[in-house]
């Protein structure tokens, strides 16, 4: 049907769309869109603040026995989980005789971290992040926060962990 060529198909009359209107964004529209994004970000911040204020994360409750002292030689580590949670923890017997317990989850992208015996450092192999085994502080690499810590209590021959006291 060559004579139909100039005539627009019916759908174009039913749905009149102006090409330039739909593909071009004016600076005015762009500015309004930026305001929308700004509103979205403010809402996001509001959610974060509300979550932090009203729904604090569950704390570890009470004392938990991990193992006995002679199961953990100097420089040794032991991974454990607390019942009712799936967060992996690691108990470290430091060379100076102290016991330390940390979450075995890198604060960068949640890789498992390992104690490097003899160095006093905890290593994250994923992106070469290092933590101080004494305090959990970040020594180098991409992790943004120190490793979450548990307090360790040694009673008789057994090692217990409990929630770390919040330091200000």
């Amino acid at each position: 049907m060559p004579n139909n060529k100039e005539k627009d198909p019916d759908w174009k009359n039913d749905f009149p769309i102006n090409q330039s209107e739909v593909t071009e964004v004016t600076r005015r529209q762009f500015a309004k869109f930026l305001c929308l994004v700004s509103g979205g970000l403010a809402t996001g911040s509001a959610f974060v603040a509300a979550k932090a204020a009203f729904f604090p994360g569950k704390k570890v409750q009470g004392l938990h026995r991990v193992c006995s002292i002679n199961e953990l030689p100097v420089g040794g580590t032991r991974a454990f989980v607390l019942e009712g949670s799936s967060t992996p923890y690691v108990l470290i017997h430091l060379e100076n005789g102290e016991f330390k317990a940390y979450e075995q989850k890198c604060t960068h992208l949640s890789c498992a971290v390992f104690y490097k015996p003899g160095s006093g450092k905890i290593e994250c192999p994923c992106h070469n992040g290092w933590f101080d085994a004494m305090t959990g502080e970040v020594l180098q690499g991409p992790p943004p926060r120190p490793l979450p810590r548990l307090d360790v209590q040694v009673t008789g021959n057994d090692i217990f962990v409990t929630a770390a006291k919040e330091e200000a």
Binding site: R27, A31, L34, L41, A42, S45, A49, K51, A52
Partner: protein, 79 residues
């Protein structure tokens, strides 16, 4: 009542164009600050330092108000 609007509408298109560009740049800057605030708030609200989440929200909200205020100064469409 004569407002800035009349003078603005009579100004040379080059001027309003510059103004438009300036406003868009300001908006982009503000949104960047907000992204940073959200990131900071998230990062610190996850573990311990909860104190930063609320100030970050206040800052973000203030910037939103400023952004909406800036929209008022957009030059009128030329006809």
């Amino acid at each position: 009542m004569s407002t800035f609007r009349r003078a603005q509408s009579q100004a040379h298109p080059n001027k309003t164009s510059t103004l438009m560009l300036a406003i868009v740049v300001l908006l982009i800057l503000n949104v960047t600050i907000q992204i940073w605030l959200l990131y900071t708030g998230l990062n610190n609200a996850l573990e311990h330092n909860k104190g930063i989440a609320f100030p970050a929200f206040i800052g973000s909200f203030t910037i939103l108000i400023i952004n909406c205020g800036l929209l008022y100064y957009l030059p009128r469409r030329r006809r």
